[in-house]
Amino acid sequence: MILQAKHVSKSIRGKTVLSEVNLRLESGTIYGFVGRNGSGKTVLFRALSGLISLSSGEVNLDGKVLRRDFDVLPNLGITLETTGLYPSYTGVENLAYLAGIRNRIGMRAIRRAIQRVGLDPEDKRTYRKYSMGMKQRLALAQAVMERPDIIMLDEPTNGLDEDGVDMIRQLILEEKARGAMILVASHNKEDIQILADRVFRISAGAVSPSEEAAL
């Protein structure tokens, strides 16, 4: 599976937030994106996934053009830094609601995904009572629960304790081993060094290969 961005630019209210982005990404690889807050990491993920339209350029997946052949990337798992889940639902209910949209997995897979991120599927607390770290873990669980081909993770270890960080890094590596294409945006250099096969730097909406050697 090959995801390509060709001359992708995006302007919002006259301000360029992505500028001439060119990428070629393949399955079974982890791509790290580093950059300051506001550099365009999240907007890049939104553009690559199809959540926003492009001002110019195109994104294609195996030759099929995003927003022409499909509205969003098919079989995508994503977490974005500022996205919440339904506050009045428990963790299982949140994931069951979202899983119901594609209707590909059952309760067993949902519970398994929750366990993989270190949460308890029997926890009856609603999402609004979750700590920051628990919310982050649940967001990751929803991103991987349906075994997506492409996974985009924006600051995946934010708000997690040391054990949580290790657990999530392990989960990301397991998803890579399964063959998923993984994009990780992080300001945490250690995350990128440990996880990424290739690293890109984003600055003022422009993406360039980073000199930082990835392992």
Binding site: L51, D71, G84, P87
Partner: protein, 279 residues
């Protein structure tokens, strides 16, 4: 499924509330007997022979209060579609590779709820009226009841979609306020009927969708129905009838649904939570 269950439950509650209010406040016969046509005319904002004629503010207020239960339902159902944009929009829309299909499904859901609300409300009103008074059922009454049901269901559906769609653009608070203000304006414009001799006002009054919900202003090609609707002064030349009003209300409905489709298809999901980002 959880959400549909909740939506159906709330629709049932709003329908019952609306039906009870309409039965108690608007079905008021002079004696203990009321005919079905008279009851339907009262429910559709026509009080007796001179329905709203004369732009009496108290009558306009009465019509607005008659619409109030529907407005409450519309505010509730105005989040059915919008809540997918409001919370977890990223997770919802990355799972919907075809937004047009998603929109069609949501529109059908709102249509189902609007039809149910109108049906439940009417059923409760008729039942309660039958408990309180002797209701004389007849064929013209049944036809008028059907007209009322169809027109009000379409209008409720239209406003509900309008609130949902406008919320995506303006946020739910502003959208609800705008939709309610617009309906209030349409009700206030009913007063233009009196001034209908002036061409501009006549056009305004005719394109006002709420004018087409007042069954007391209708003419019917069916003699028995025509006979059941008392004549209302100058309104005769307006030519309101069920087919014309159905067309007018349907045009508004179609315009709102199609505009909503365009907005949904092209809306950039820039925020995870349109109301409270990140919560």
């Amino acid at each position: 499924m959880y959400r549909l269950r909740y939506d159906l439950l709330y629709t049932l509650l709003f329908g019952i509330l609306s039906g009870v209010l309409a039965a108690v406040l608007y079905v008021n016969p002079m004696c203990d007997t009321i005919s079905l046509p008279e009851m339907v005319l009262q429910l559709s904002g026509s009080r007796g022979i001179f329905a709203l004629y004369g732009a009496a503010p108290s009558e306009l207020m009465a019509v607005f209060s008659r619409f109030l239960p529907s407005i409450l339902f519309e505010i509730y159902a105005g989040t059915v579609m919008y809540r997918s944009f409001c919370t977890a929009s990223v997770y919802v829309f990355t799972r919907n590779p075809d937004r047009a299909k998603w929109y069609r499904r949501e529109v059908c859901r709102v249509l189902l709820l609007s039809v149910l609300f109108t049906a439940i409300s009417l059923a409760i009103t008729v039942l309660l009226a039958a408990v309180r008074y002797a209701v004389v059922l007849n064929v013209p009454g049944a036809i008028l009841l059907l007209y009322h049901f169809v027109l009000y269901a379409i209008w409720t559906f239209t406003v509900t979609i309008f609130i949902n769609v406008l919320s995506i653009w303006l946020g739910s608070y502003n959208a609800t306020l705008a939709a309610t203000a617009l309906q209030a304006l349409c009700i206030a414009l009913l007063g233009l009927v009196r001034l209908s001799a002036q061409p501009v006002l006549a056009v305004l009054a005719r394109v006002n969708p709420v004018s087409h919900l007042i069954l007391g202003w209708f003419h019917s090609a069916i003699p028995a129905v025509e006979e059941a609707i008392p004549p209302v002064g100058d309104v005769e030349f307006w030519g309101f009838s069920f087919p014309v009003s159905l067309l007018v209300v349907s045009v508004y409905c179609l315009a709102v649904v199609l505009s909503g489709r365009q907005l949904v298809l092209h809306h950039d999901i820039l925020s995870g939570n349109a109301e409270l980002d990140g919560v």
